[in-house]
Symmetry: C2
Subunit: 229 residues, 2 copies
């Protein structure tokens, strides 16, 4: 957590967030008033934050990672903008260390070259749109970072991704899988495009698929930037 | 700067980095020994860091933003791996807040949906490879973040990017341009795909091109995640 994010929480009247994230931030939140809710209740939670702000409270809405990458920044701004400028709460987005940056650091240096970030969750986006993005990113030799790669109910998409990528890259292409980066239970494994879907993958995993130049050296995944060494 | 990055610098014997970044971190570095060098001297600088580490020193190599995204993490790992395991220095990559996260936060919430990160610098990558990535990312409706969009000598690529994007997205698509995000001189402007290349853009700019859904509301650039409000 950046010092700026910490200060924002410390100066807030109320801290709003997904229950799990409120728990992770207990040490910073202390005895402050909180408003938490469960998964899939993003609109309710952000609406509560905006309503509290309309009543003159200073609110900190927390996300894990970077609130600007698949986080709550967009929803908060959209809800705030529904109010006219004379009453609209002021919104400041404080950037954080994204899950993809944290995962990459654990794996080595897989993001040294152009990359695409794709969420495989089709709750809010049609699968055909996501699938096309995977196809184009594969064809253009992007390193590909996958958020929400798999859930208990959604297990086929990651297999489709593997099949698409195998049409464009060798079966030996390194694939890193990271769980809970920066948390005490963090762990990572480096597999290959051929076999990575046999590893444990869930909603808390971040998957990084190398490009055609990515190598594994002594357990670290490295995408060369292109320097002649 | 994260508390973890600060601690790493504080516990280092020598701090290595691009001269400009060493200056930016003066307050943390204090009176420590430093090794700085200019732009384009990345190999020399990283080699010096590895050599110092081989001599038993604890070295902190600093990048701006996230060292794992177009930063020094890859080069340091590549150089360290050239040594056999009995003498090879241990390398830890500490993730940071990337320039793209910092720029997005200033603009609003443009990265709420799938995005591609592309460097337009063709010093180490053939322009045809970069151009194909822009074409595929445009076709797949990715939000597109551009690092190194333009330099004094390299001015045509950003115009080519604009022309490619105009084949896939409306001329009114929002484009955000951010300079020096998180530094005292930070500033941002939101233009459109049609006219953004008329804005001031240089090597210190980060350009974020919206996808087909991105909107500007009250001066903030927002890519909706897809929630029904």
């Amino acid at each position: 957590m950046s010092p700026r994010a910490r200060k924002a929480i410390e100066s807030a009247d109320v801290v709003v967030g997904y229950d799990t994230y409120l728990k992770l931030a207990t040490e910073v939140i202390g005895n402050k008033e909180t408003f938490g809710s469960g998964m899939m209740q993003e609109i309710e939670r952000c609406q509560a934050a905006v309503d509290l702000a309309l009543n003159g409270k200073n609110i900190a809405v927390i996300s894990s990672g970077d609130p600007g990458i698949y986080g709550m920044a967009g929803l908060i701004l959209e809800l705030a903008m529904q109010h006219s400028s004379d009453i609209r709460p002021e919104v400041t987005v404080i950037p954080g260390i994204s899950a993809v940056s944290a995962a990459a650091a654990l794996l080595g240096a897989p993001l040294m070259h152009d990359f695409a970030v794709i969420s495989l969750s089709n709750l809010l986006t049609p699968w055909e749109v996501i699938r096309k993005r995977v196809e184009m990113a594969a064809a253009a030799d992007f390193v590909i970072a996958l958020y929400n790669p798999k859930s208990v109910k959604r297990v086929t998409q990651i297999e489709e991704v593997r099949e698409i990528l195998l049409q464009h890259r060798p079966a030996t292409t390194p694939v890193g899988i990271v769980h809970h980066a920066t948390r005490p239970e963090e762990k990572q494994v480096i597999a290959t495009l051929d076999n990575f879907t046999q590893e444990f993958i869930d909603m808390f995993s971040l998957v990084i698929i190398g490009n055609s130049q990515t190598v594994v050296r002594e357990g670290r995944m490295i995408t060369p930037r292109g320097y002649q060494l």
